[in-house]
Structures are given as structure tokens and as C-alpha cells.
């Protein structure tokens, strides 16, 4: 079972690949849209990549609720 740190690190690498987000900027309080400049199409890509990496599917109605990195880490951890 992946720890919160491992999940955050994995997300950081996905965010870097999809949206050029720097690893140093990936902290739990950061908002995807407001702080990290990740638009809705990119969020779909992030969710797809997260599913491949962690084996956790993020349904369409859940995705908009994941506003911050912390929200995403928590969701993935609790559904792994």
C-alpha cells in the first residue's frame, strides 16, 4: 500500500509530465487550477495517469471535487 509521500511523489511526476509543474510546487495545499495552472483537459490526463500508476480509478463526478494536491493524495490513498 502506497504511503501519502509515495502518492504525492507519483502525482508530482505525473504533473511534471502533463503540465510542467515543478516538484517543489507540489504540496498538499496547492490548488490544481489556481496554483498549478492545470486546466480541465490536463486534469483528465492526470486522472488517467494516476489510474495507471496507482491502480485507483477516479470517477468523473469525483474528479472536480479534488481541488488540491492534498485532496487527490487522500482520495488515492483511501481507494488503493
Amino acid at each position: 500500500m502506497a504511503s501519502a509521500d509515495e502518492i504525492r511523489e507519483g502525482l508530482a511526476s505525473i504533473l511534471e509530465e502533463v503540465a510542467d509543474v515543478k516538484a517543489a510546487d507540489v504540496s498538499d495545499d496547492k490548488s490544481f487550477t489556481d496554483d498549478l495552472d492545470v486546466d480541465s483537459l490536463s486534469m483528465v490526463e492526470v486522472a488517467m495517469a494516476a489510474e495507471e500508476k496507482f491502480g485507483v480509478k477516479i470517477p468523473d463526478d469525483e474528479l472536480p471535487k479534488l481541488k488540491t494536491v492534498g485532496d487527490a493524495v487522500a482520495y488515492i490513498q483511501s481507494n488503493a
Binding site: 502533463v18 503540465a19 510542467d20 483537459l41 483528465v44 490526463e45 488517467m48 489510474e51 495507471e52 480509478k57
Partner: protein
């Protein structure tokens, strides 16, 4: 030398910017230098997927778009969109515009874009189809639609420059790029815009497309000698060589270019479009002749004024000679003709645009690019085809483009 007749009933349309990314170079200067030097951009396809194909050569872009565009931007674009953006940026900047239309002091609602393509984002479509088959619909990219839609290149370029007067995509196979130039002329003459960024793009090097063309017996199979495969008018020609890339031009009214002190390359004197209604792939010389005649008449110039033609000439057994005959009949056997596809390969939807760039530069620089690989010319070749770059006064020139489907476009450019 004939004094050129001036069609002064309306403001001339002029070419103020050029851009390109081709198998000869990642910009206009390198491409033009390569053309004059008689370089070939054709290479052997060493990819695994090419091994079973009967055609294993192509002309790839000399500079990969992913080396030029920011990574995150590039990954959201089909290769044909990437190429279009690169060529468009160069042309836009070359036209003296920095930033978006608004930032450059233009009224965005008076700026239009026309970028043609033969098949648009087909390689993205095929890649995502493979993913669909291997991993299922949930793994298909949310960017597939915007990467594949044929209006993608035009739309992305329109987004870059902030064009709000309309963003169009001309699709007429191998005539798409020239048709974009023709539509640009119309938009300006119809007062729909004050500046139009036109061009063409194509990036479809993929086993399926190659197999498709190969099954039509349209492509050269000279796999052991890639650089000698594209040989317009040569007795040894055996089909075209597929190329990829993009070319763009910026068109404006002469008065507005003068008002802002902008350097003008040439005047776009006329455009003519005809359709053969003859066969879905075989060209009809009559349709080509009509396009040439119509363009000539509209330009107000005489046959003697047209000293140079950038021929469509794809290196096919049938197509090359029909066009050469039309040129000899209408413009005279002393017309200096070039088949630049001998060097760049056939860039399909981008060909007409890149060849318009070459035609404009021939006029601007007074030098006609050579045709390479013309070692044993067809007996019926009656026009003057230089094998090395020819310095001469190029007062006016024609660019021809003909596409599968019977599309014929003839563009007349002249000194401004």
C-alpha cells in the same frame, strides 16, 4: 523585358511575411539555402514499422518540432499542428508583428487565418486507435479530438495570433496549401480582413498512409537510393516521395504595408481555381490549362511576363508531363521551370504553401531553384529546367498545385 501591366483597379495584395519548416530546414532561410544548393531532404525509413512496406523512404522535417516547441505545448498537439505553429510564428514575426494581433497594434476582428491540410491529425488518430484497442476507451487521450480535427492547425494558429475574422481550413489534397493562398487573396479583396496568415501543413508519415499510397502505385520504391528517388520529368521517375512540414505566408494590402513601412517580398497578382470533373485521381491537362489561363488573365500580365513556374511536378510517370506540356503551350518553351519536390519530396497539403514561399523568394532574390535528379529528361520535356540554381530577373512567376480529386490551383506572383 516587358513592362508589367498594372492592375490598378484595387489595392494590390502583397506578401509581407514567410515561414516554413521542411525536410530541408527548420525555417525559411535554411530551406531556401537548401533549395538553391540542390540538397535532398529524403531519407531512408529505418523504423521497425517500415520494414514490411514496399516504400521505405520519406522526407522527414529536418528539425523536429518537439525540439522547438515547449514540451507541454507540443504534447497537446498533433505533429501537423506543431509544424503549422512553427511556420506560422516565423511568418507572423517576419511580417513585423510581435505577440498577438492586438499586441501588434492590429484589430483582431480584421485578422484571418487559412491553413490547409490534406489529412490533418491522422497520426494522432492512429496512435489513439492503437491505444483504444490495447488498453480500452478509458485510456484514449482527452486531446484526441483537438489533435485530429482537420481545422486543428488553423485553429491553433488562430489562437496564437488572436485572429477573430475567421479561421479557415482549405482541404484539396495536394492543392490545399495553394488553395489557402487563393482564399487569403479572396478574403482581402472581399474586405473580410486586413491581414491574412495563410499556409499549409502535413505530417502523415505512418505505415498506413504509406501503404495506402503504395497500393495505388503512386509512390517511388527507390528504397536503396532515397535522395535520388524524387526525380520530376526524369525517365527513371517512379512515383512521389512523401514529405512532411508546413509553410506560411502573411498577406496584406499594399497600402497598409506601405503605411507601416513593412518590407514587401512580392505581389500576389492573381489566383485561379478549377476542377477537372474527370477522374478521382488522374489529372486532366485541360483543367490545369484552364487554371493557368484564368490566373494569367486575372493577373493582367501576359505569357511573356511569366518567366518562371514552380511546377507541381510530383515525379509521377503521368502527372509531370501533362503539366509541362501545359506550361510550354501557354507560357512558351523558354519558361524557366523548377520542380522543387525533387528536393523536398511531396508535402501534400503543405506543398502548395512551401512552393509559394519558394516562388516568392525566387522573385525577391532573382534566382530560380534547380531541379535535381534530372539526369535523363523525358523526350517530350519542352520547357527550360535548370539543374543548378539560375540567377535571372524574375519579374513574375506562377506556382501550380494539383490535387487528387481534380483540384487545380494556379497562383501568379510578381515583383511588387
Amino acid at each position: 523585358m516587358t513592362e508589367l501591366a498594372r492592375s490598378s483597379s484595387h489595392d494590390d495584395i502583397v506578401v509581407v511575411g514567410l515561414g516554413a519548416t521542411t525536410p530541408l530546414g527548420g525555417d525559411v532561410a535554411t530551406t531556401w539555402e537548401g533549395l538553391l544548393a540542390g540538397r535532398s531532404g529524403v531519407v531512408a525509413l529505418t523504423d521497425e514499422w517500415a520494414a514490411p512496406l514496399s516504400v521505405r523512404i520519406a522526407a522527414r522535417m529536418a528539425v523536429d518540432p518537439t525540439e522547438v516547441l515547449p514540451r507541454v505545448q507540443a504534447r497537446r498537439l498533433d505533429r501537423s499542428e506543431q509544424a503549422a505553429i512553427i511556420a506560422a510564428r516565423e511568418a507572423w514575426r517576419d511580417a513585423g508583428f510581435e505577440g498577438t494581433a492586438r499586441e501588434a497594434g492590429l484589430e483582431p476582428t480584421r485578422v484571418a487565418v487559412v491553413i490547409g491540410t490534406g489529412i490533418g491529425g491522422v497520426t494522432s488518430l492512429l496512435t489513439q486507435y492503437d491505444i483504444l484497442k490495447e488498453k480500452g476507451p478509458d485510456r484514449v487521450s482527452p486531446l484526441l479530438i483537438t489533435m485530429n480535427m482537420p481545422n486543428g492547425p488553423a485553429a491553433h494558429v488562430g489562437l496564437e495570433v488572436g485572429a477573430q475574422a475567421g479561421v479557415h481550413t482549405t482541404v484539396s489534397a495536394c492543392a490545399s496549401g495553394s488553395e489557402a493562398v487563393a482564399l487569403g487573396l479572396d478574403l482581402l479583396q472581399l474586405d473580410r480582413a486586413d491581414v491574412v496568415l495563410v499556409g499549409g501543413t502535413e505530417a502523415c508519415i505512418h505505415p498506413l498512409n504509406i501503404a495506402g499510397f503504395a497500393q495505388m502505385r503512386a509512390m517511388s520504391t527507390r528504397n536503396d537510393e532515397p535522395q535520388r528517388a524524387s526525380r520530376p520529368w526524369d525517365k527513371g521517375r517512379d512515383g512521389f516521395v512523401l514529405g512532411e512540414g508546413a509553410g506560411c505566408l502573411v498577406l496584406e494590402r499594399a497600402s497598409s504595408a506601405a503605411a507601416r513601412g513593412q518590407r514587401v517580398y512580392a505581389t500576389l497578382a492573381a489566383a485561379a481555381i478549377t476542377s477537372d470533373a474527370y477522374d478521382i485521381v488522374q489529372p486532366d491537362k485541360a483543367g490545369q490549362v484552364r487554371a493557368l489561363e484564368l490566373a494569367l488573365r486575372r493577373s493582367g500580365l501576359t505569357a511573356a511576363d511569366i518567366v518562371h513556374v514552380n511546377a507541381h511536378a510530383t515525379s509521377t510517370p503521368v502527372g509531370d508531363m501533362g503539366e509541362a506540356g501545359a506550361i510550354a503551350d501557354l507560357l512558351g518553351p523558354d519558361t524557366v521551370v523548377t520542380g522543387t519536390k525533387s528536393m523536398t519530396g511531396h508535402l501534400l497539403g503543405a506543398a502548395g504553401a512551401i512552393e509559394s514561399v519558394a516562388t516568392v523568394l525566387a522573385i525577391h532574390n532573382d534566382v530560380v531553384p534547380p531541379t535535381i535528379n534530372l539526369e535523363d529528361p523525358d523526350d517530350d520535356l519542352k520547357v527550360d529546367v535548370p539543374r543548378t540554381a539560375r540567377e535571372m530577373t524574375v519579374t513574375a512567376a506562377v506556382n501550380n498545385s494539383f490535387g487528387f480529386g481534380g483540384h487545380n490551383v494556379s497562383l501568379v506572383f510578381r515583383k511588387a
